[in-house]
């Protein structure tokens, strides 16, 4: 490939129905670029979970995806309430989502652990009252 590809998306926090649109676009782009189904699936699931989190918890944010020869990097940034205890949030089944979100099929406390599971690297930088940035990388080799 040689060149570095960058994609930027604004994630609308007002509309639950449209959550995940950026992940759909990224999956399509990766398919056009000829990536394997496994890579496409891992990237799109990790990003989709992140997008859903941003809509549920943080009133939206931005998503930036960078593709180079070695890895795909996803950076999800929001100005939401922040995560007071990241290690607690990483526990499977822990969720602060309200019942309304559960009735929509999400908020089982699997999002962050799932994002970690599908990626080779994940870092959460969060400050209460300021926002959260999640950086994920998927290696290509």
């Amino acid at each position: 490939m040689g060149e570095v590809l960058k994609f930027h998306f604004d994630v609308d926090g007002e509309n639950f129905s449209s959550a995940g649109e950026a992940s759909v676009v990224v999956k399509k782009k990766l398919r056009q670029l000829g990536f394997s189904p496994d890579i496409m699936r891992r990237v799109s699931i990790a990003m989709y979970e992140g997008e859903i989190n941003m809509v549920i918890h943080a009133d939206g944010g931005t998503a930036d995806v960078t593709v180079d020869d070695n890895e795909i990097t996803i950076v999800l940034k929001d100005r939401g309430p922040g995560i007071p205890d990241v290690s607690l949030a990483m526990q499977e089944g822990y969720s602060t989502a309200c019942d309304n979100i559960r009735s929509l099929g999400f908020g089982a406390g699997m999002g962050l652990p799932n994002m970690k599971k599908y990626t080779d690297f994940m870092q959460i930088d969060s400050e209460v009252g300021v926002g959260t940035t999640v950086t994920m990388k998927i290696k290509l080799n």
């Binding site: 995940g20 759909v24 799109s44 499977e92 929509l104 999400f106 089982a108 799932n114 599971k117």
Partner: protein, 119 residues
């Protein structure tokens, strides 16, 4: 199992994706929690659910599923049908309850990957 056999077994109404009815699927899962589908499902071609919102279609698409069956007489919205068409996913709806629908498919040979949890 061919997708058209699923339609027959569940006495389901096809909503979109007629061109894929002859495609084979090898396993299925059933859930109303998309969080769990994203976390535990692997290589399942069919999702059986009673949940109605566009994220059902997006979740199925992310998981490379090819068919979604809505049970308990739940009907997807026009927006969901359009989304499924764009993703190449077959949609159908059945009056059966989820347990009954799963039972029919399971006993006819469509399994769920031996109950393994891919944690």
């Amino acid at each position: 199992m061919k997708i058209c056999e699923i339609q027959k077994l569940l006495n389901a109404t096809l909503l979109c994706g007629e061109e894929a009815l002859e495609h084979d699927v090898f396993s299925a899962c059933c859930s109303d929690m998309m969080s769990d589908v994203l976390a535990y499902v692997k290589d399942q071609g069919v999702l059986i659910t009673g949940l109605i919102n566009p994220q059902v279609i997006r979740t199925a698409s992310m998981m490379d599923m090819v068919c979604v069956v809505f049970v308990r007489s739940k009907a997807p919205t026009e927006e969901m049908i359009e989304l499924a068409e764009a993703c190449g996913i077959v949609l159908m709806k059945s009056d059966m309850r989820a347990y009954e629908a799963c039972g029919h498919l399971y006993t006819s040979g469509l399994r769920g990957n031996a109950g393994k949890i891919h944690g």
